[in-house]
């Protein structure tokens, strides 16, 4: 594999018998795994030759074309899959996206940089704050103020981002449990998400679409006792997570449904452009937070969980472990967070104080221009990338020197992961489509934009 990354500090043996990246690097990627590389059952992925072989044994059948979606009950986003099935085996599939194309990129061209934040909230609407942070960092990089961001703001961004990542993974894991028929763990995870949302609501004023991050910092400081409440919430969340784990990870039926289904090799995954938990499930320890640290991520100690087989179960397990790692980061961030301002002190970027706006013409003009014309971003272009809920979330922005982006493109990880759906479900059963889709975690808002 060509994309070896820097060695990680403090690697530990991760849960569920997964090898650490060190072990992978030392050679036996699959040998170390306690789980077989090629699943023994027939329904999961077969290659073309094997399929032919099966055809030879069985009576000839006529393939049936059947349409799944776009309003199928359990797909995360709205997607249409045209299946050619033989019995219950998928012989061919055509995954069609675009049912939630809301013209994010076009809308962004008509909005000032600050006004784009609400739209980013609705990209990956499961972890809005990560999108907020990603977009803010891109614009800040273009303006050239990344180095001047207040430290406290950076820590707050890490904290809200990691909370968001936890809610993202919780939703994904819960939904995947529901998709294989386990409704109860789903609601338990939603319950935990609810706790975290309440915290975020206290901080940002909104439950889901926060628009909390601003260019140059965040909109407001942490409320009183936020840290204590977060600590307590994380504590009780851990016990619920353990419960969920006992219902799923140790459940034979669940393991049977997930193990070895829709497996993909690291090479293929990289070739398809996968990032995030999906890529890590194949054993590649690539995490933007670790490999290209932004904000203050280089100050935290955390591990990058990886899988070995690259199947649905690995994707599930990686996400589950990432929740724990996010909690670790939160723990450290809560300890390290310094006092100070949360917004950059620069009148060209930050809004003046309300009192000054009402009483001096200078601040009035500043406020007016920032609202109507937007923050003037120097002409140029930038690509900035962060670790989103589903992988590398990139923003490519072209500025023409005005207050609105001339072009704003999103490299949305779930769009890139979705392109491999056809490949993953080839040869699988109908019953495997939805769990596979769930573990790819295609989010309509992000995929179709």
């Amino acid at each position: 594999m060509s994309t070896t990354t820097q060695s990680k500090t403090g690697m530990k043996k991760l849960a569920f018998g997964m090898p650490t990246p060190d072990e992978i690097a030392s050679g036996g990627v699959h040998g170390l795994s306690t789980r077989p590389k090629v699943p023994p059952d027939l329904m999961s992925k077969l290659n073309a030759a094997e399929l032919e072989e099966v055809e030879d044994i069985e009576l000839p059948t006529e393939p049936m074309t059947i349409n799944m979606g776009p309003s199928h009950p359990a797909t995360h986003g709205t997607v249409r899959i045209v299946l050619t099935i033989d019995g219950e085996t998928v012989r061919d599939s055509d995954v069609q996206v675009g049912y939630l194309h809301r013209c994010f990129e076009k809308e962004a061209e008509h909005a000032t940089y600050t006004q784009v934040f609400p739209y980013t909230d609705r990209l990956n609407y499961v972890s809005p704050l990560l999108n907020n942070v990603g977009f803010a960092l891109a614009v800040e990089k273009l303006i050239g103020i990344v180095d001047r961001l207040p430290e406290r703001a950076q820590y707050i961004r890490v904290i809200v981002g990691e909370i968001s990542r936890i809610t993202d993974h919780l939703t994904c894991l819960g939904a995947s449990a529901m998709e294989v028929g386990g409704f109860t763990p789903f609601l338990w995870m939603i319950k935990v998400r609810e706790w975290l949302w309440e915290l975020l609501e206290e901080l940002t004023g909104a439950r889901l679409t926060h628009s909390y991050v601003r260019i140059g910092g965040v909109s407001q400081d942490l409320p009183e006792h936020f840290i204590d409440k977060l600590r307590a919430t994380l504590h009780k969340s851990t016990s619920v997570l353990t419960e969920c784990e006992s219902l799923l990870v140790k459940n034979r039926i669940f393991r049977d449904r997930m193990d070895g289904v829709a497996a993909i090799s690291a090479e293929d995954a990289i070739g398809l452009g996968w990032t995030g938990p999906c890529l890590r499930s194949t054993g590649v320890p690539y995490d933007v937070r670790k490999d290209h640290p932004y904000l203050v991520y280089d100050r935290f100690e955390f591990d990058v969980p990886v899988g070995s087989v690259g199947d649905n179960y690995d994707r599930f397990a990686v996400r589950l472990e990432e929740i724990r790692q996010s909690m670790r980061i939160l723990d450290q961030a809560m300890t390290q967070i310094p006092a100070g301002p949360v917004l950059l002190d620069d009148p060209r970027v930050a809004m003046p104080a309300k009192n000054a706006v009402y009483n001096t013409i200078e601040s009035m003009i500043g406020h007016f221009k920032l609202i109507i014309d937007g923050i003037k971003v120097p002409a140029g272009e930038v690509y900035s990338y962060t670790e989103g809920g589903n992988g590398e979330l990139g923003f490519y922005i072209v500025s023409d020197g005005t207050g609105r982006p001339y072009r704003c493109h999103v490299r949305s990880p779930s769009f890139i992961a979705t392109q491999s759906m056809s490949k993953l479900i080839l040869g699988a059963g109908i019953a495997d489509i939805i769990p596979t889709f769930g573990m790819i975690n295609m989010i309509g808002g992000e995929c179709d934009r």
Partner: protein
């Protein structure tokens, strides 16, 4: 007065059967099936930290949300009945009937109490054989009762398959196919796993099996045939098509063989599913939990503590009901705990695991029975 009525019933078995049928189906099965929809919703709510339905009220009466199922029933009855274009109208209409009728009919062989001793209902009966006439608390007592059950239960598969096929919908067809393969596969296992019990109790007649188990709890099927109990319970849940075997329905995948059914036709499928769970509980109770037997209670009472015959019978009927409720509840727990199988895994479980085990069970049981009977 009472005696004469009972006497009349004992002599006119057809009338008695009708009465029992009404009593059992309308007085027990149907309400219980409806109630179990409520129980399911409340049970799942409880497991999921929720409250569950609790709003429906008639005046100030709320009854912990029980009224919601009444609302469900009324609403379904008055809902538009959509028959999609291009469906096979006859089979489309037949399918729900085929789904519910076999289960209701098979209740005929389930004994829900001991024989009622006519003429001595208020006195202590020490020896039931001395009764001048008896009324069996079972709609139809047939020597081949269990065979009758298997014969009819296998008809239920037509309901689902026809529903899937007649709906002119590829998804429902898939559901129907899944249902037929699943039900046929598991019927084999069901039959074979009960074989051991037949060997032990030496009868195919349900009431005889119950009587043979006696009031000694250690003689009940669950202790004499523990493996068969697990096998049968598993296979029977699969037969009811409920989680974790709800593949024909499989909401996130297929939506089910009844995807095109609306209104009360769908309601019937819905109800049939719950009746099947009750029926499953009844069969398991009969074969493995001693049916209407109460531990330590014989026809005269608890050992030396004598009870009038009517009290004994009533107690036994109540205990029988409780056993069924317990099993229904157990199924709910399973339903809300386990994820769903995949078709191939289901087939593998059925044919590669349950079937060999039930064959093994027969061989072992046969050997033990042969050994115990001294090779005769």
């Amino acid at each position: 007065m009472t005696d004469s009525i009972l006497m009349f019933l004992a002599e006119h078995t057809a009338v008695a059967a009708l009465l029992k049928l009404v009593l059992l189906v309308l007085g027990f099965v149907m309400p219980l099936a409806s109630l179990s929809t409520w129980a399911e919703r409340r049970q799942s709510a409880m497991m999921q930290d929720r409250l569950g339905p609790n709003r429906a009220n008639i005046g100030p009466v709320k009854l912990w949300g029980i009224l919601h199922f009444v609302a469900d029933a009324i609403k379904m009855m008055f809902k538009e009945d959509v028959v999609p274009a291009k469906v096979d109208r006859f089979l489309f209409a037949l399918a729900p009937v085929m789904a519910i009728a076999p289960v209701l009919i098979t209740f005929a062989v389930v004994p829900f109490g001991p024989d009622l001793c006519v003429g001595q209902v208020l006195s202590v009966v020490t020896d039931p054989t001395t009764c001048k006439a008896t009324i069996p608390l079972q709609v139809a007592r047939m020597d081949v009762g269990m065979l009758f059950y298997f014969a009819l239960a296998s008809l239920a598969v037509y309901g689902t398959t026809l529903a899937g096929w007649a709906s002119y919908n590829k998804w429902s067809l898939l559901g129907g196919l899944r249902a037929s393969s699943q039900m046929m596969s598991y019927e084999v296992c069901m039959g074979l796993s009960l074989m051991g019990a037949f060997l032990v109790y030496g009868s195919l007649e349900p009431n005889a099996i119950v009587t043979a188990q006696g009031s000694n709890i250690l003689n009940w099927g669950i202790f004499t045939q523990p493996l068969a109990f697990v096998l049968f319970f598993t296979a029977a849940i699969a037969e009811t098509k409920r989680a974790p075997f709800d593949l024909p329905e499989g909401e996130p995948e297929l939506i089910g063989y009844f995807v095109e059914y609306s209104g009360m036709r769908f309601g019937i499928f819905f109800l049939a599913e719950f009746i099947e769970t009750i029926f499953l509980a009844a069969i398991v109770t009969t074969v493995f939990l001693g049916g209407w037997q109460v531990p330590g209670l014989d026809s005269s009472g608890f050992g030396s503590f004598h009870l009038p015959h009517l009290a004994v019978v009533l107690l036994q009927v109540v205990v029988w009901s409780l056993k069924i409720l317990l099993l229904c509840w157990l199924q709910l727990l399973i339903r809300w705990t386990l994820p769903r199988f995949r078709p191939d895994q289901l087939m593998r479980l059925g044919w590669k695991q349950l079937l060999p085990l039930s064959l093994l069970n027969i061989i072992i049981t046969a050997a033990v029975v042969l050994w115990r009977s001294g090779g005769k």
